[in-house]
Symmetry: C2
């Protein structure tokens, strides 16, 4: 096959752009191989851009891509100031160079991803006849049921979304109009801060500590801003792993009720606890449809299983569904079916236990090493999630520090992306999702050297 592909590539190279290649029949005869081999070789050349096929006409040498420069200066006038704020998000998506230790991204390393289980689930799902038909708009029933049970919700209140980010994008844009303030528990997830700004909403920071949102500050923030929506991560927040303590749950909901506001609960880390079980979702304490809970499977199954859910009750549920249809139409059915296969399949619970144990071990090692090598920094040991929030010595520039560690072979997350306004100290987010336990001491060593 390689030989045939190489021969065809040579042939195409010798012909001018746009020239027609000999017919398949002719190539079979000339090259002395079967028609399937010829077809596969042509497919290869189509995929890498050497030839194009035109239905009913044949195979042609691809024309060289245009290299003429185009004057697009007029666009800057038309576009004006951009509402889109994506730097924090892009930083978390950028794949580090080979050999660089990764404490910047929240994606599990391959040893923790259930890749073969995912592949099997996908293959099984893809072969089901209904897998490629239009799914019910609210999602495949078995998947809605599963999310409902995991969260303690009614199945009818569960709406399947295309991943956590798509879910948050829809929820945040469907409730309050552009220009409105939205309270954001900080430090928080940059993807949400970007979403809010890109939608013309105004994020208002509400500080948290290791027990989550601080109620007295929350009350003041609602009063001062008039916001009608609060976004928080009560369970193993990104970046600091904080947990909304039991005694703060009711006060937070009561304060939101007094403000006539919605509470958007980002529950993405539910299965990332380092112990056996996570606290119940905040929606379990919700008595008047105030809490909208967003969850997704990406963190425990892999960045490509973009399947999540939105749990909401009352009129807001229809509005969310309406905007989701308008934005996405539907969530690809094969992905939903693969998700069902995966989470109800044998070994799923074992996978989650192994994941918890590995993340817990990494958090332990990281905490020990930081205490040992960086006495000038402070942090709270996280009880779940995939990141630790490290407070830096007074006056340290987080971006500059991140640049120095990068030069020495370690990528980390500058803290400024995780807060809305100025912070009272500078921080780094240190992810332990991708980095393996054995590399953590080295990584901390690099950090120590860079400080």
């Amino acid at each position: 096959m390689q030989r045939v592909t190489a021969s065809l590539r040579e042939l195409a190279g010798a012909l001018p752009p746009g020239a027609k290649l000999p017919s398949s029949r002719r190539l079979v005869a000339d090259l002395g191989v079967g028609p399937v081999t010829v077809q596969r070789a042509i497919d290869s050349l189509v995929a890498d851009g050497t030839v194009v096929t035109r239905p009913g006409a044949g195979t042609f040498v691809a024309r060289a891509t245009r290299t003429a420069t185009v004057d697009t200066a007029w666009q800057r006038v038309a576009l004006g100031d951009s509402p889109v704020r994506s730097e924090g998000v892009l930083a978390a998506l950028t794949v580090p160079d080979h050999g660089v230790l990764d404490m910047a991204r929240g994606y599990l390393d391959l040893s923790l991803q259930p890749s073969s289980r995912l592949a099997s689930a996908m293959a099984r799902a893809a072969r089901r006849p209904e897998a490629w038909t239009v799914p019910p708009p609210a999602g495949v029933p078995e998947l809605r049921t599963w999310f409902a049970q995991q969260l303690g919700a009614d199945r009818e209140d569960v709406f399947i979304s295309p991943g956590g980010q798509g879910a948050l994008s829809t929820v945040l844009r469907s409730i309050v109009p552009a220009g409105s303030p939205v309270l954001v528990a900080v430090p928080g997830y940059p993807g949400v801060i970007s979403l809010l700004r890109s939608a013309g909403l105004v994020p208002v920071p509400v500080p948290t500590d290791t027990d989550g949102v601080r109620p007295e500050l929350l009350e003041r923030a609602f009063e001062q801003s008039g916001a009608r929506m609060l976004y928080l991560q009560p369970t193993y927040a990104n970046p600091d792993g904080s947990l909304l303590s039991a005694d703060r749950r009711r006060p937070v909901l009561d304060i939101a009720a007094k403000a006539g506001a919605f509470v958007v609960e980002d529950d993405f880390a539910r299965w990332l606890g380092h112990g056996p079980t996570a606290p119940p979702a905040l929606l379990r304490d919700d008595t008047d449809g105030r809490v909208i809970t967003v969850n997704s499977l990406s963190k425990v199954s892999g960045p490509s299983l973009r399947v999540g859910c939105i749990v909401s009750r009352g009129p807001v549920a229809q509005r969310i569904a309406g905007l989701s249809f308008v934005d996405h139409l539907i969530v690809a059915r094969p992905l939903q079916e693969a998700a069902v296969e995966l989470v109800t399949g044998a070994g799923w619970n074992a996978h989650l236990r192994a994941l918890s144990a590995a993340l817990g071990a990494r958090a332990s090692t990281l905490s020990t090493e930081l205490a040992r090598q960086l006495p000038g920094c402070s942090f709270h040991r996280p009880r779940g999630g995939f990141s630790l929030w490290l407070r830096l010595p007074r006056g340290t520039d987080d971006l500059e520090l991140a640049r120095r560690t990068r030069e020495r072979g370690l990528v980390v997350g500058p803290g400024r992306h995780y807060v809305v306004a100025e912070d009272d100290a500078t921080h780094l987010r240190l992810c332990y999702a991708a980095i393996t336990e054995q590399h953590i001491p080295t990584a901390v060593g690099i950090l120590a050297d860079s400080l």
Copy 2:
């Protein structure tokens, strides 16, 4: 397996909610089957909601779902008027009852969908080791190359998006701020009209005829509205199959240039022509990065392959990419890889030829029947796409007519969803994507009876 599942279901039914089931080992012994069989049976019961499993704890009878009613009246005050407009979109997603003839939805019937080819492509893609890793942010290279060749663009200008709807949502929201007017060629796609309104943008209608947008009306619309963006479908538009004629292409671009505006080209129907090839995309005539072209594979491969592309050049390309990251993060890699496998695989061109032939035959039959049975209506025979735009007799109410045909066993698309403001006449959109050729005369008969 069924027997074991039934036994377990009976067992669970006899226990109170929350009670723990016997261990797997015990069940294996009691039921006299292997552990894999027991596990599969339990998986079944998890999937349909009878039991829940908790990692490290066991399998438990599911608690009954809450049935307490919740007072959500406060939400109506908090939500206010909804910007979300989703009726037109929902209508196109609603699956008609069994036995009802479907001329309402633009999804291909199963005989035309390449389902088994899709399933194989997906299965092959899912088993590739890199299929579940984070893809490059702009998309898998082979897929970008393929789209680039199909559209005559540079690969570097191609950005992979999660389907056409996601692409349009991102593009339309990233360019002009809320409150801005956007010109929309009408009759047009309800999904875009809904998107614009939901984003707080103001759709301004620009009439088309069978040769596409009318330049003199376009010029006037730009002058009167001050809009800086035009959305159109130059190639086999939905709903009327119109084609932007060759002599109008340059004038449309010049008029947009004079207005300092972007032109968003929706090229979703590229491969739905009834003849051998479609006209080139409008971007081929673009000399200053004015045209942003959106395309997707959904129409020719199935509603669940939510993979598309956005082609743009200049500063606007970065803004579009930024908002796409913020809204979606990435497009699931297995879907991208499956798309590559599908479109470069053997038989793809044959599939497209068969599709064109079938759609052309249906369009022919539909045109003949309409001319024969409904002389009081008029239309232009479409040269591509999957729908025909039928002009109704003066004074006919489109919604009322759709209701009457529905009662008689035929669903159609009321024309009001496809125009922005009042139309000079009422219309129906008649899709021939789902209905097979043999049923068309019956369907037209129902329409004739209903009129």
